[in-house]
């Protein structure tokens, strides 16, 4: 895009700056729209699984429900508890929301459609997702109220626990792909097992994908791991004292994070923007190659989002000690074992060729 702005007569730096801002807006606005629609889809899926109708009043099929909700919270009063730490109380939802958007900078939407194609892309995602906990912890502390504080404690412990096993799972993917670059990881999955594009079809990496899917549920604090907002124990968790737009920012941030985790599932284990099968016709059937790539990525993201909704609609909530046990006593040893197994397999089969 920089070249396009340069052709309009800008200098390189001005063109780069404009192109980056344009790229950010090009990702952030559709993402916000996607979040609004995905909230609607989520509610419809739960409703269908509970034999209800779900939102069906605002607009055709209730499609505009999220916008109506957004308008409602926007017009409400922002209540700040008098005992709250005002600055941090207002900063916390902003941090959650911003961090949820930041990680999208390295997600590849197509062969060339990535905002910043850095060679530590995966580490960047890991770094940004580890920042997400601050919004929750700060909210819990700044609210100066018991239940949000308990929720913040839980959130901090939960995020750290599951990041450890996510780290090991990502190491397995990186070992196989040989790069931290997100586009590189996608391309490494091309024709990975016979004609199938994707690491998840590899018998050694399939268990890692299952663990990654469960860990990403825990990392985004979705059901069955939504102990940070367990209404039967903690009122509404860290969001208890929030109202109006501050509350809406948590809502948007949460769903943007869920979408990001779906995108990571797709990019790391299911070939990202590659079609599921390595057949030439599948690379270019939707207008252009770039649009076909975006189409496949979106299809995969929506598929994983359906799984997330499905789990939320059907699985009961974990107890806190079960959550910790799963993270530390099951996933951590298992993922560590698979790191050893996969690196051993790769060394034994000479995956890295003569350079090793």
């Amino acid at each position: 895009m920089t070249e396009f702005f340069q052709s309009l007569g800008m200098g390189y730096e001005a063109a780069w700056f404009t192109a980056t801002i344009a790229g950010i807006l090009l990702i952030a606005f559709p993402l916000m729209l996607a979040v609004a629609m995905i909230i609607y889809a989520d509610r419809k899926i739960w409703a269908a699984m509970a034999l209800r109708k779900g939102p069906n009043v605002v607009g055709p099929f209730g499609l505009l429900q999220s916008f109506a909700d957004g308008l409602k919270v926007f017009l409400q009063e922002t209540i700040i508890p008098s005992a709250a730490n005002k600055g941090l109380f207002l900063l916390a939802p902003i941090i959650t929301f911003t961090v949820a958007l930041m990680a999208w900078a390295v997600v590849p939407f197509g062969p060339a459609a990535v905002l910043s194609d850095i060679n530590v892309g995966l580490l960047y995602v890991l770094a940004i997702s580890s920042l997400g906990v601050y919004g929750v912890v700060m909210a819990g502390w700044a609210s100066n109220s018991k239940y949000p504080f308990f929720s913040a404690m839980r959130a901090a412990a939960q995020m750290i626990s599951y990041e450890v096993s996510i780290g090991f799972i990502l190491i397995c993917v990186v070992l196989w792909a040989g790069t931290f670059n997100m586009n590189g990881i996608v391309l490494a999955q091309q024709n990975h097992v016979w004609l199938l594009n994707g690491f998840a079809f590899n018998p050694l990496l399939f268990p890692m994908w299952v663990m990654f899917l469960i860990s990403s549920l825990a990392e985004t604090a979705r059901a069955p791991f939504d102990l940070t907002e367990a209404e039967s124990e903690l009122v509404a968790g860290y969001q208890t004292e929030y109202s109006s737009m501050a509350f809406a920012l948590y809502w948007l941030g949460e769903y943007a994070n869920v979408l990001l985790m779906c995108a990571l599932n797709a990019v790391l284990f299911f070939g990202g923007w590659l079609p599921p099968l390595d057949i030439p016709i599948l690379y270019n059937f939707f207008f252009t190659e770039g649009l076909t790539a975006v189409f496949w990525l979106f299809a995969k993201i929506l598929f994983f989002f359906f799984i997330f909704s499905w789990v939320k609609a059907t699985v009961p909530r974990y107890r806190y000690d079960q959550l910790m046990r799963l993270g530390w006593k099951v996933f951590l040893p298992l993922s560590l074992f698979f790191v050893v197994l996969i690196s051993g397999y790769l060394m034994a089969t000479g995956h890295y060729g003569a350079t090793a």
Binding site: E13, W16, F17, N85, L88, I118, N119, V120, L123, Y124, L126, A127, I128, S130, L131, V133, Y134, V137, M138, W141, F149, A152, M153, A156, A157, M159, I160, E163, F180, D321, Q322, R325
Partner: protein, 206 residues
């Protein structure tokens, strides 16, 4: 131009938040300023091209260490009057540390004014490899030349971890409320519930 602006932005924010860490009255605020300082430090490292170290700084320090800091500090019940009472007692020590830092600054600036050091050309395995990413060069060095030291560090950390676990570990059976997960998973409805159809007017015999 953009690099210069970014450098001054990060540098000013690092120093400003570092000042706020020591001047903030509330320890939780201090930790949050410290996190901001770490984050901007990572930004500076990206600018000098050490993106791997920058990401590690964020993942390890901001993502894990500082969260635990915050975790502990949030739960402290701090008496500010008592904290300030120690000011006079620690004043001489503080002055001494300040003087040492001042002397280092003067020396550093003096040395900088005297002209740059003449560094030799980097050579051998420690030399930066052109055209290779950060991760590859660090990996080649860590798992090549410094393999033994690296593994020793790993063993030391492992021993420290085992030590910490041994010190805090209690045999699970003696603990009240111990949960046996496999037993819970094996429990089936027929073990836990019974169906009874009591006739009208009679109680249920259990």
């Amino acid at each position: 131009m953009i690099q210069t602006l970014a450098f001054y932005l990060f540098a000013v924010l690092v120093i400003a938040s570092a000042v706020m860490v020591i001047t903030a009255r509330n320890p939780v605020h201090s930790v949050l300023w410290l996190i901001l300082a770490f984050f901007n430090g990572a930004g500076l490292m990206v600018l000098v091209g050490a993106e791997f170290i920058a990401m590690l700084l964020v993942i390890v320090y901001v993502g894990a260490v500082a969260v635990l800091f915050l975790f502990v500090v949030m739960m402290l019940d701090i008496d500010f009057a008592e904290l300030r009472a120690g000011f006079v007692k620690n004043f001489p020590l503080g002055i001494a540390v300040a003087l040492v830092l001042l002397a280092e600054l003067v020396l550093g600036i003096g040395a900088y004014q005297a002209g740059a050091l003449q560094l030799g050309e980097p050579s051998g395995v420690g030399a930066p490899r052109m055209g290779e990413s950060n991760i590859e060069s660090i990996g080649a060095l860590l798992y090549g030349k410094y393999l033994f030291l690296f593994e020793t560090a790993g063993i030391i950390l492992l021993v420290a971890m085992v030590g910490a676990i041994v010190l805090t570990h209690r045999p699970p059976k003696t603990q009240r409320g111990h949960q046996n997960i496999s037993k819970q998973n094996q429990r089936r409805p027929q073990d836990a519930t019974v169906m009874k159809q009591p006739p009208v007017g009679q109680g249920v015999e259990l």
